[in-house]
Symmetry: C2
Subunit: 317 residues, 2 copies
């Protein structure tokens, strides 16, 4: 396949086209990824996540600049919650990263999060595989928000940065608690704001409640002011420290195997989700069942069991 060779040669137009195929769930994407797969596996993947308002785009911008001084090609896949009528807002947000628009060693791409379950995980993993095969040594996956999508994306990287800022209010405490497990490095951005000590102490308290043994990596807390390019070298050092931790004792291999397991799971769920949607929308019986449920003559469990009978599930979980 010509496209495969062009991607391996680092052709930016070919890379962009491949990621579009992946994003759109085009049938051509599967053989393409299969062909690229033996050439991928060399890149280091960094996840960047956290609540909105954390200045993640600016932070990613500065990290790109840092890795470019090390002569590394850098790829970024930014996942945005999308809707049919929000194109403008997303473009506006991404404009900030255009500082690198003329640098051929930097590839930045936004990707929507709509679609079937597992679809985002499959698409981001595949986009990363394209960039990886094309020779990008550092790949960042950026997500806005907190939830299943973020956990899915975090399950596909080597190091996850959790970015927060001082003064986001009480809910952020809850939020941080929910994402603590996926964080390898905590980043407190806008560290010149009031409340930075309180923010750091809150993270330390949550970390203190974590179960530790000698093989546990204690996530460092790095204060940065991304806008002013302050603390970026320290942050890169913290990422490097986590990378070294993984490299020791076969941890990187076991993390990457877990990542592969997650990818297979996402592909399976994506397929089964499509199957379930088709059953629920196409089957005449399902429509009759819908009427029955509305009239409370049957219930969702009974209808689901009926549909699941079509599959020979070989265990009783």
């Amino acid at each position: 396949m010509d496209l495969v060779q062009q991607i391996l040669d680092g052709n930016v137009r070919a890379i962009a086209r491949a990621i579009s195929l992946v994003e759109n769930g085009d049938p051509q994407a599967v053989p393409l990824i299969k062909a690229l797969y033996p050439h991928a596996g060399r890149a280091y993947l960094i996840g960047v996540t956290g609540p909105p308002g954390g200045g993640k785009s600016t932070l990613v911008d500065k990290l790109i600049a840092h890795y470019r001084t090390q002569e590394q090609k850098v790829g970024v896949v930014a996942v945005d919650p999308t809707s049919p009528f929000s194109g403008g807002a997303l473009l506006g947000d991404r404009v900030r990263m255009q500082a690198h628009a003329t640098d051929p060693g930097v590839f930045i791409r936004s990707m929507g999060s709509r679609g079937h379950l597992g679809g985002l995980a499959v698409a981001t993993a595949d986009a990363a595989a394209v960039l990886d095969a094309a020779g990008y040594g550092v790949i960042m996956l950026e997500t806005v928000g907190i939830g299943q999508s973020e956990v899915e994306v975090a399950s596909q990287v080597d190091t996850t940065l959790l970015v927060t800022v001082p003064g986001l209010g009480d809910d952020v405490q809850v939020l941080k608690a929910g994402t603590m497990e996926i964080a390898d490095v905590f980043v407190v951005n806008k560290a010149d704001r009031d409340g930075v000590e309180k923010c750091v102490i809150e993270i330390e308290q949550l970390l203190g409640a974590r179960e530790m043994d000698e093989s546990t990596f204690l996530p460092p807390i790095v204060q940065v002011i991304a806008r002013d390019n302050k603390g970026i070298t320290e942050l890169a050092g913290a990422i490097e420290k986590h990378r070294a931790h993984l490299a020791a004792g076969g941890r990187l291999e076991s993390r990457r195997k877990q990542r592969l397991r997650n990818q297979v799971h996402a592909i399976i769920i994506n397929k089964l989700d499509r199957w379930a949607h088709a059953r629920l929308t196409d089957d005449m019986e399902a429509r009759e069942n819908l009427e029955g449920m509305y009239l409370r003559k049957t219930d969702p469990y009974a209808v689901a069991e009926e549909i699941l009978k079509q599959l020979a599930l070989n265990d009783d979980q």
Copy 2:
């Protein structure tokens, strides 16, 4: 079943026990929900979602007080992102709602979001069914954050409130775009803050880009200061306006049928997710495949296809 009758009688301990069964995915939950199902369907369900820092708990608190003046029993299910070591933070957040702790007409419950795909949607729908059968006329489902979980919860209510506040920064624009589709009423909380006009204008601009016809409900934008109990009556009026819109022309029936479809889908996906996890962790073959993928001798698509062959998927989606 004795528990069923106790719930129908409005026994609070029985309700709490039923919701625990639901939350823990206990096998006893399914027959319980089936038995309660014919008695549910009378409650009006309101979803409350939005980015962290929006003051949703306080807002819910004031809405409870409003509906209590109308002699309605009010149930609240608050979904928190949970982790094994975050119990304290969650409790802290919920303490704010304890103003109603001694009111037998109010039932408030937090629920974790961990677990299998679809699990949260199943659990919140089932918890709502318990409260519905027990005679709670207004049920609020509150979620923190934005993502798949919020869309899942929004797909299960009659009216969804999207709560935001002025001055959360640029990312919130992106965030709002992602949730615009699920919002029936926009709430701008902390409306005494700087930037409230800008916030309202941004929402109006996003709404302006929406495709409209005469059957479309234009989501009102309501400014409130929940802490000071300001704007709550107006908000309740906006909810009532949406309810009246649904009541006309069979829209409520069609929305509730969509809700039932979503519930069946969540039950199916939850079951299939467990099946997929079992295949990926138990099967010796899957472990060999994992090694093969790590060495790039095979790829995730090939492994997924192999596992999916165990199911008789009767279409090629």
